[in-house]
């Protein structure tokens, strides 16, 4: 599936700007971004439910711009699940097949009983519905109406209605956002398994970076109608192309602090020189993106240089690990991720003075416009390898 120069505007408000995207066959691609970034609109354009103002959509090397949504061989799972409220679960799942396999006359009341082949087709459809329902473990619910189901069960019915068509492309529009937190985490795993089992192409829309990171083969991070960065979850996490990407991906969020290039291949934050590779001229203002796991506590007695003095503001217990929220001398906040053992060993209280060691090679350097500074990318690649 590929998108070529997709543009869309509502009135004078541009929603999508000349957007290009290639989706590989069989991959799980996630469109992620803040609400209003155009990701849902893009998904509806792929489905044909909305019409782009410019550009074209190709599925399997063929433009589908002149095809109706129902003829594009794509299935979609909606945020609200969009189940037909008056039909049973079984009929909901069977509907796309009935539409495909029965002629119009065979779908009309009265007239349909005249078709000799209809009973055979309907038997086939029932068997396929039963098979899909069994896969999703909803076979005991086939006679119920959607109103009688829990959120998780409706979710599965919506999946079943998409799966039963065996489409070339699955489109999913925030399908987990109406579930409670626990079920959401569980369904993440199930969706990833489903993708592996079906081997079909998934395009998945979410605003939740955790969903994007856990399920995707690749992520397209969108903002304001453009794709900021396209890559594997590891790419986006380890080599964010911009400050916006770095800030969107990862939880707890990345620390951003202002610094200056020192001209000698490093950077300085106030009076402290940090071992962050940076080849910009001395005095260039830059912004550092420091993941919480790139920050660690240094023993007060080490006497080594390049440590940031700070004061512990608050410690958050996540069970296996702790997040320390520290205040730097300049007033910037810096979060550090610590193992339980390390936290206990340090015996800290709110207000304690701490020294923070920064894992220089893993720090992301951006210019003041938020663009990644290439020099640091080179040294980071070396560091990561």
């Amino acid at each position: 599936m590929r998108l070529r120069g997709i543009g869309k505007a509502y009135g004078s408000t541009g929603v999508l700007h000349a957007l290009d995207l290639d989706v590989r066959a069989g991959e799980f691609l996630t469109l992620v971004g803040p609400s209003g970034c155009g990701k849902s609109t893009l998904l509806r354009i792929i489905a044909g439910l909305e019409v782009q103002d410019a550009g074209s959509v190709e599925i399997g090397d063929r433009s589908v711009d002149d095809l109706l949504p129902g003829d594009r061989d794509v299935a979609m799972v909606f945020q609200s699940y969009a189940l037909y409220p008056h039909l049973s679960v079984g009929r909901n799942i069977a509907t796309p097949l009935e539409m495909q396999r029965l002629t119009l006359a065979e779908r009309l009341p009265l007239l349909r009983s005249l078709s000799p082949r209809r009973p055979r087709i309907m038997r086939g459809i029932r068997a396929e519905v039963a098979a899909v329902a069994a896969q999703l473990r909803i076979d005991h619910l086939l006679e119920r109406k959607p109103g009688q189901l829990s959120g998780g069960q409706r979710q599965r019915v919506a999946l079943g209605r998409a799966m039963v068509r065996q489409p070339r492309l699955f489109l999913m529009d925030e399908p987990l956002s109406n579930l409670d937190a626990k079920l959401r985490v569980h369904m993440r795993g199930e969706l990833a398994d489903l993708h592996a089992r079906l081997g079909a192409t998934f395009v998945y829309v979410t605003h939740d970076q955790a969903e994007a990171m856990t399920m995707s083969d690749r992520i397209a991070l969108m903002d304001s109608g453009r794709i900021l960065q396209l890559g594997t979850p590891a790419d986006l996490y380890d080599r964010p192309g911009s400050l916006a990407v770095a800030q969107f991906i990862g939880g707890p969020p990345i620390n951003v602090i202002d610094a200056l290039a020192d001209g000698g291949g490093g950077v300085s934050v106030g009076p402290v020189a940090l071992p962050v590779p940076c080849s910009l001229p001395a005095g260039t203002p830059i912004r550092l993106g420091i993941r919480p796991e790139a920050v660690e506590l240094a023993g007060a007695t080490d006497g080594e240089s390049g440590l940031l003095p700070a004061r512990l503001h608050r410690a958050e217990n996540l069970g296996a690990e702790w997040i320390l929220q520290c205040v730097l001398a300049g007033g910037d906040l810096l979060a550090a991720r610590l193992s339980g053992a390390a936290y206990n060993a340090a015996a800290l209280r709110p207000g304690s003075a701490v020294l923070l060691r920064i894992d220089g090679p893993h720090v992301h350097v951006f210019d003041v416009q938020g663009r990644r500074v290439p020099a640091s990318a080179v040294s980071l690649a070396a560091g990561a390898a």
Binding site: R4, G14, A54
Partner: protein, 308 residues
Amino acid sequence: MSAVVPAAARSAGRRAPQSRLEAVAGTAFALPAAILILAVLIVPLMVLAVLSFTDYRLGAVGMKAVGLDNYAALFADGVFRRSLTNTFLYVAIVLPVSVFGALFIAILVQARARTRSFYEVVYFLPVTSTLVAMATVWQFMLHPALGPVGTLSVDLGFGRVDLLNDPDLALLALAAIGVWQVIGFNMVLFMAGLSVIPRDLYEAAALDRAGGAVDRFLTVTWPMLGPTTMFVTITSSITAFKVFDTVVVLTRGGPLGSTETLLYVLYLEGFQYFRIGYAAAMTMVLLAFLVALSVLQAFALDRKVHYQ
């Protein structure tokens, strides 16, 4: 958005299938309605406006434009002027009684637990019944010799009254029947309005020492019912304005023209005497009143939506 990738020019020039489908399906779905709305509403309205400036009579071969003559004749016509007076008088009686009476009953019925639906049915019954049939019953009820109202009047010492044949009382009798027919309708609207007033407002009022029935009504019920009252008032005035059935059944405009109402006179001019041009002018006057009331109603509805 003008920076379009060349490949896009192709689909931008042609309409995408979904838009085309919506345009075709939408047109096909709406066409019968559009044709009918032209045929039974818009074109007749225009014809009506034109006719009101002519001396057209049904069956006449020709007609000629008479300018504003019809309108001038209309306002010089004693019958028409009397019908306007009678209609406004009728509205002036029916409106306050049916609105405030309905509000009063609605508040009482709303407070009943077990008998609530019983009263709801009883008061609403006249709304669903066939007014022409019930008017003949009223005629019998008001019969000075045979009806219970006549008997009651004698028993109470008022002597024999013949309401429908008394020029001073006939319109009042019609108005009473009008109230009887519409009050249940208004009551149901008020009950709907009452049911959406949040309970905690009453509780807050009680904490503010506005706990008595009158206090509660003045501090909570009446202000919260404002939009409903507006709506009920206007729909009731439209209904009352169109009084016709009871006139036809009970008085035929009499006695002495005391119950000639706008619609009844219009009916006579247009469909009994076939003075079409004249009746058309009269209809335009009726339309003006109805449009004015509807515009008021639109504002009232707007406010109603705004409140909730």
